[in-house]
Amino acid sequence: MSRYEILSPEGLRTDGRRWNEIRRFSAKMATTTAADGSSYVEHGNTKVICSVNGPIEPRAANARSSERATITVDVCFAAFSGTDRKKRGKGDKYSTRPIKSPNLPTYQGGGGALLMGRAQSKRRVLEMQSALSRTFASTLLTALHPRSEVHISLHILSQDGSILATCVNAATLALVDAGVPMTDYVTACTVASYTNPDESDEPLLDMNSAEEMDLPGITLATVGRSDRISLLQLETKVRLERLEGMLAVGLDGCGKIRQLLDEVVREHGNEMARMGTL
């Protein structure tokens, strides 16, 4: 796809959105009774299921800290989540615990960020898990639960861009549902930087996978209403001057997501009050 198709001259993107629109967002809390907290988030065609267990007794001995709760994250891409079915081999699953494997070849097969060699995607998942775990470690009041573990398990059922951001949002909802004490919502979104034909730049809020493939972009997560950024990732080359514009749009986007999450939480609370389960 040429980059001019990403934004039409009328200012519409491939899926008909304007530059500052986020895709359809719907979320549910407490989807299953088997975990302490759970959520299901649909962000456009990206769909993520999250369940949270904790604070529980640490499953691994090295996850125990006498000062604070440790946060472990498992991210799992369903085999049917991408455009092509992912061929999985044995032992592709692992958790935030250290993995025992020799140095792996680092070639990235295929073009896009989604079509990666197995070893590569394994490392990418590990990176995601670590980023998520560290993001929530700074927002949850972990010091209240020493010697315990909060386990976040994320399943990506369908991928269409902004996966890390959707994982953050889903985990936030599930953590709220689980009642793990935290200072505020952690909300995340993505921003792309689009180059107009006249070389001026234009930030596009909330990338889908086509935009993620063609444009440089950032994923950022903020804490609460503040403009304090706890997670920021950029993986493609972009001019330094554009960062400011992207951050501004991203902060605004995170604010919008926060509002949406807040509505979901409040609605869930009202529902619980109605059902008398509160």
């Binding site: 299921i49 498992d74 692992y94 399943h155």
Partner: protein, 279 residues
Amino acid sequence: MAPPQTSQQTGTPLSPAELSYLHTSLTLTPPIRPDSRTPTQFRPLIAESDILPSTNGSARMIWGDGGECVVGVKAEVEKNSASTGGARDWIEISVEVSGQRDDDAFLGMTVAESLLVPGSGVLERLVLGERFHWKVFVDILLLTPPLSHPATLLTLTTYLALRNTFLPRLVSEVAEDPVFDDDWDNALALYPIGRIPPPITLLVVSVGENIFFDPTREELAVGDVALAVSICGKKVVGVRTLEGGSGGVGREVIKRVIKESHEVAEEVFGSLNSVGEGD
């Protein structure tokens, strides 16, 4: 008589006295189940179909006890090859249990076995001309295993996903490379209505003279024998006993299980087929 089991053996948090009480109340006529269900009644469940746009068919089910299962069906065009196991390999099923390192091959095989019942006509619908065929991947993701046996949850979700699986219509000639109609409204169902549907497996437990559908873990613990009944359309295609029961099973009970399974299955099919119709 109470079954001589302790909580360590059954994995339930019930004391022997509680198990005995449960056993007694289940053997009464009419029986009393702890959650006041009738013997053929299922626990509440949530079922959704067509949830994933990137698949050919998908379904998600959430069971009353927290069991959650997502199934995605994806089809890819593959060249015929003589070397492999032939048409039996055209459907590949994998079961992934969240939190477990290795896939549960046994569960996958159980489902696969029942899917490939001869005469269902599925394999014929996968043929694409002379040289190609569809390869169907059925990926079952057990997000949280149910507290009781997962067979029912797995097969019901798989049933729902397969029922909603559509493959693009072939427009090219038999000998050509396959070309497809890109209008999804013309797509063909993998299991068209009126043909033999995918099978499901129901769990039945017998306690004394009574039989119960969709048993809870506690009911399984006190049951004499647990049976997995596979039903395909209007036929019972398999009855298998599960381990863990405390006694044998009489011929009469089996007969009744099969008879009632028919009725229950019909209702189950009816309600599952109506999922997604409201859209």
